[in-house]
C-alpha cells in the first residue's frame, strides 16, 4: 500500500515538470516498401516516464532508434534538448549519446567481460575516468543499486535472465544519463521478475531523476512505470493518456490490448 502511494507521489511530482526534452513531429521511416513509421508526434518533458505500448512490428523500437541517432528518419523532426538529431555530425551525436542511456531488449552485455568490466567500460571510455578508486566506488554503488553486489566477478553467461536485465540497467545508468530509453525491459522474464524490474526502473528514475521512454507490451510494467501511455499501431499513434484513461478507452485496438471485449 505504501509502495503504491510512493509510486503515485513519484508520478505526480514528475508530471509537474514541463521542460521539453524530446520533441518528435511528423516522423516517417520506411525500409524499402515497408512503411514502419507513418506519422509520429511525441513530446516528452523532463522527469516524465512515457510508455509506448503496441504489438510487435509497429515501429516502437524504430522510434527510439531515431531519437538516439541509430536510424535517420525519412521525414519529420526529432529534437533532443532542442537540437535536431538527424542534422548532427558524428561529434555532436557522440556528445548527445553520453546524455542518453539505451537499455537493449537483450541487455547487450559484453559477454567476453566480467560484470565489473562491463560496468567499467562506459566509465573509462565514455566518461574517461582514470581514477581507479572512483571507478571502483561507482561500480559498487551501481551494483548495489540493482542488487547485484555479489555478482561483481561473474561472467554474464553465469547470470539469470533477470540478473542480466539488472546488470544492463546498471551499466546504462552508471554514466548518469538524463534520458533513459528502455526497449522492452521485461520481455522474456517471469511475472515476478518482470514486476521487480519495473519497480527497479521506477526506483532508478527517482534516484537519477531521468526522463524515460519505455517500450513494452507488458501491461503491468506500463501500469507501474507510466506517467503517460502512448498506444501505437501500424506506425501511428492511436491513443494517448494516463494508464487509467487508456484502460477505459473504447478504441477496438486498445481494448484488445487490455484483453477486454469492446465496450
Amino acid at each position: 500500500m505504501e509502495d503504491k502511494e510512493t509510486i503515485e507521489e513519484q508520478k505526480h511530482s514528475s508530471s509537474k515538470k514541463k521542460e521539453l526534452v524530446i520533441h518528435i513531429k511528423g516522423l516517417k521511416k520506411s525500409f524499402g516498401d515497408h512503411h514502419v513509421l507513418k506519422h509520429v508526434d511525441l513530446d516528452v518533458h523532463r522527469g516524465e516516464n512515457v510508455v509506448i505500448l503496441g504489438k510487435s512490428g509497429t515501429g516502437k523500437s524504430v522510434t527510439i532508434e531515431c531519437i538516439v541517432g541509430m536510424l535517420i528518419p525519412d521525414e519529420g523532426e526529432v529534437k533532443v534538448f532542442g537540437d535536431d538529431v538527424p542534422e548532427m555530425n558524428e561529434k555532436q551525436l557522440k556528445e548527445l549519446r553520453t546524455k542518453i542511456g539505451f537499455l537493449f531488449q537483450s541487455g547487450a552485455l559484453y559477454d567476453s567481460m566480467t560484470v565489473r568490466e562491463n560496468l567499467e567500460f562506459p566509465l573509462t571510455r565514455v566518461l574517461k575516468i582514470r581514477d581507479q578508486a572512483e571507478i571502483d566506488q561507482r561500480v559498487e554503488e551501481a551494483l548495489e543499486g540493482v542488487g547485484l553486489a555479489d555478482a561483481i566477478d561473474k561472467m554474464p553467461s553465469e547470470l539469470s535472465g533477470g540478473m542480466r536485465k539488472r546488470l544492463g540497467l546498471a551499466r546504462t545508468l552508471i554514466v548518469k544519463p538524463e534520458i533513459m530509453l528502455y526497449d522492452e525491459p521485461t520481455t522474456g522474464l517471469d511475472p515476478i521478475t518482470s514486476r521487480e524490474i519495473s519497480q527497479l526502473i521506477l526506483k532508478m528514475q527517482k534516484k537519477y531523476k531521468t526522463t524515460s521512454i519505455i517500450i513494452t507490451h507488458d501491461m503491468e510494467c506500463a501500469e507501474i512505470t507510466a506517467d503517460r501511455v502512448v498506444v501505437m499501431n501500424d506506425g501511428e499513434y492511436v491513443a494517448e493518456g494516463s494508464f487509467d484513461d487508456i484502460k477505459k478507452s473504447k478504441d477496438e485496438f486498445v481494448c484488445s490490448f487490455f484483453l477486454k471485449p469492446m465496450l
Binding site: V68, E95, R97, T98, F102, F104, A108, D111, F121, P122
Partner: protein
C-alpha cells in the same frame, strides 16, 4: 540479360564502397587519441601466441615434406647438395609467408569475423556505439594492428621451423650436421630475398585483420549471418593473400632483378 547482371554489379560496387569507407574509418580512428593499448596487447596474445602452435606444426610438416619431395628430383640431376639452398629460397621467399598467411586467414580471420559478427547479432556493438564509446577504436583498430604485427612475426618463426623440418628430412637419408645445413641455407639467402618476403607478410597481416573485422562488423542480424561472416572472411582473406602475393612478387622482380 543486362538487367539481370545489374544488381550483382551494383551489390559488388556497394560492397567495395563500404570497404573503402570502413578503411577510412580505421585510419581515422587509428590516429585519434585514446589508443586501446590493453586491448591491443590482449589481441596480440590471442592472435599471435595462440596461433603459434598451429603455425609451427604446419611449417614443420611443410619443410619436412618439401625436402622429401625435392630430394629424389635433385638426386637424379646429381644436385643433392643444392637441397638446403633450394629449401631455404622456397620457404623464405614464397611458401613460408603464403602458407602461414593462409593458416592465419583460416584461424584468425574466421575468428574475428565470428566474434564481431556475434557481437553485432547480440547488439553489443550497437550498445557500445549508442553509449558514446567508440567500437571502431576498441574492436577494429586493435585487431587489425595486432594481425599486422603478429602475422610477420609468425611467418619468421614459421620459416625457421620449416627449415628445421627440412633438416630432419635430409637427415633421414643422409648425414648432415645442423651447422652445415644452416650455413648452406643462410649462404643462399640475401637481403633481396628477405625484404620483399617480409614486406608482403605485413600486407597479409593487414588484410587478414581488415577482412575479418569488416565481415564481422557488417554482419547481418541473425545467427546464420555469424557463420556466413566467418566463412566469407576466410574466403576473401585467402583470395586477397594470393592477389597481394602476385603483386608484391611482380613489383620486387621489377625493382630488384
Amino acid at each position: 540479360m543486362a538487367e539481370q547482371a545489374l544488381p550483382g554489379w551494383k551489390k559488388w560496387l556497394e560492397g567495395s564502397g563500404d570497404q573503402v569507407i570502413f578503411l577510412k574509418g580505421f585510419f581515422r580512428n587509428m590516429f585519434r587519441g585514446g589508443f586501446e593499448w590493453s586491448e591491443f596487447v590482449r589481441q596480440c596474445y590471442e592472435i599471435g601466441y595462440k596461433s603459434f602452435t598451429l603455425v609451427s606444426i604446419t611449417a614443420f610438416i611443410m619443410g619436412l615434406v618439401l625436402a622429401l619431395q625435392l630430394r629424389p628430383t635433385l638426386v637424379s640431376f646429381g644436385a643433392e647438395s643444392m637441397l638446403p639452398r633450394t629449401l631455404a629460397i622456397a620457404i623464405i621467399r614464397e611458401i613460408g609467408p603464403v602458407i602461414t598467411a593462409l593458416i592465419c586467414a583460416g584461424k584468425i580471420a574466421s575468428g574475428i569475423g565470428a566474434e564481431l559478427g556475434s557481437m553485432k547479432v547480440t547488439e553489443q556493438i550497437d550498445a557500445m556505439d549508442v553509449s558514446g564509446a567508440n567500437p571502431m577504436q576498441y574492436l577494429v583498430v586493435t585487431r587489425i594492428l595486432a594481425t599486422t604485427l603478429m602475422v610477420p612475426l609468425l611467418t619468421l618463426l614459421g620459416d625457421v621451423i620449416g627449415l628445421i623440418g627440412g633438416f630432419l628430412a635430409i637427415n633421414i637419408s643422409s648425414k648432415v650436421t645442423m651447422t652445415l645445413y644452416f650455413n648452406k641455407c643462410l649462404d643462399s639467402i640475401n637481403f633481396s630475398d628477405l625484404l620483399p618476403a617480409f614486406i608482403k607478410t605485413i600486407f597479409f597481416g593487414f588484410v587478414i585483420g581488415f577482412i575479418g573485422c569488416y565481415k564481422g562488423y557488417n554482419s547481418n542480424k541473425g545467427t546464420e549471418s555469424v557463420g556466413l561472416s566467418a566463412n566469407s572472411a576466410v574466403v576473401a582473406a585467402s583470395l586477397w593473400i594470393f592477389v597481394i602475393d602476385a603483386i608484391v612478387v611482380q613489383i620486387s622482380n621489377i625493382i630488384i632483378y
